[in-house]
């Protein structure tokens, strides 16, 4: 096996390492807001993802993928990671960029250490029964 072969077997993973997409950043100031079930939605002012790309040249193809997926409906961070096949850590940095630029909104999940109230839990039970 040559030196080059060792790089391109399955175990080597993607040839472009995930954190290259974030220019080496592994954290983002906004990541505390980006729980796995935080819902991301593209800001209303963009009718088309292409419009964003035209006005903000700092965006990478991965940023634009996120905007496109979140244009119609809010999507959870976890679903975005699965759909775009990106590690959650990478995705948090990219979403953080979009938040800073005002391109997306993120909903707040139920705050940590604070259980949903009994009324909401009752609604969950009713919803499950009705499935």
């Amino acid at each position: 096996m040559t030196e080059a072969d060792r790089w391109y077997d399955d175990a080597a993973g993607p040839v472009v390492r995930p954190y290259a997409m974030t220019r080496g950043r592994t954290t983002h100031a906004a990541e505390d807001r980006l729980d796995l079930i935080a819902l991301v939605i593209t800001a209303d002012r963009y009718a088309e993802t292409d419009d964003v790309a035209a006005t903000d040249h700092s965006l990478t193809p991965e940023h634009l993928d996120i905007l496109e997926l979140c244009r119609q409906e809010p999507i959870s961070v976890a679903e975005l990671a699965a759909g775009l096949d990106l590690p959650v850590g990478v995705l948090r940095v990219l979403i953080g960029d979009l938040l800073d630029a005002g391109h997306v909104h993120v909903t707040r999940p139920v705050p940590p250490a604070e259980l949903p109230d009994a009324g909401l839990l009752r609604e969950v039970i009713d919803g499950l029964r009705a499935l």
Partner: protein, 201 residues
């Protein structure tokens, strides 16, 4: 990809509420099957980079060639209403990935601990974890074909469970059975929240 929710944008005026529940248990006990039985999407797998574990250590040398640089988590989604969605997360089965649990457990409304009576000890660690964190959980004994049936009380004794913790027999492949398990978890969480809430509220 399965992003098939309709009409969510319409409901977006009122912020949708997203809740999460964990599904824990030993490796191969049927967590993915359980999630798949009730999820409206096929279980998706998301990968968390293991380099997260070392934050804020910057040294990534040696990581690039390993096949185990990511750990998979299964998850599913149940839309209960336009503005109320429940996410299920299958926790990584191997103990060495437990650092991921802390994040998953934050804000979780409860957990299912899936048990196999042939390997009951596999779920001890999960029971311990949720007990210590004060997270509501229910034990679901997955009755595999051919698995020896044990009376509920025998399993309860073997796990040294608090008498309030729900324990159910289930079939992780069966939607109705899994629904009952999820309802048991939420009911238990509700009992606990009303028991601890001030009487005035």
């Amino acid at each position: 990809m399965a992003f098939g929710r309709s009409d969510r944008r319409r409901a977006a005026a009122e912020e949708p509420v997203a809740l999460k529940m964990l599904v824990a248990g030993g490796f191969g006990v049927g967590k993915t099957t359980l999630v798949g039985a009730v999820s409206e999407i096929r279980p998706l797998r998301t990968e968390e980079s293991l380099t997260e574990a070392g934050r804020p250590v910057d040294d990534l040398a040696g990581v690039e060639g390993k096949s185990t640089t990511t750990v998979a988590m299964d998850f599913g989604r149940i839309t209960l209403r336009d503005d109320l969605v429940l996410y299920l997360f299958g926790t990584p089965g191997q103990d060495r990935f437990w650092f991921l649990w802390d994040e998953l457990a934050q804000g979780a409304l409860g957990a299912v601990v899936l048990a196999d009576t042939r390997r009951l000890e596999d779920c001890f660690a999960a029971v311990d974890y949720f007990e210590r964190r004060g997270i509501s959980f229910a034990i679901a004994v997955n009755c595999f074909d051919g698995a020896q049936m044990h009376p509920v009380e025998t399993v309860r004794d073997a796990l040294d469970l608090d008498p309030h913790v729900p324990l159910l027999m289930c079939d992780a492949r069966d939607r109705e059975s899994v629904k009952e398990v999820l309802i048991a978890v939420v009911s238990h969480a509700m009992e606990r929240s009303t028991a601890t809430a001030p009487a005035a509220s």
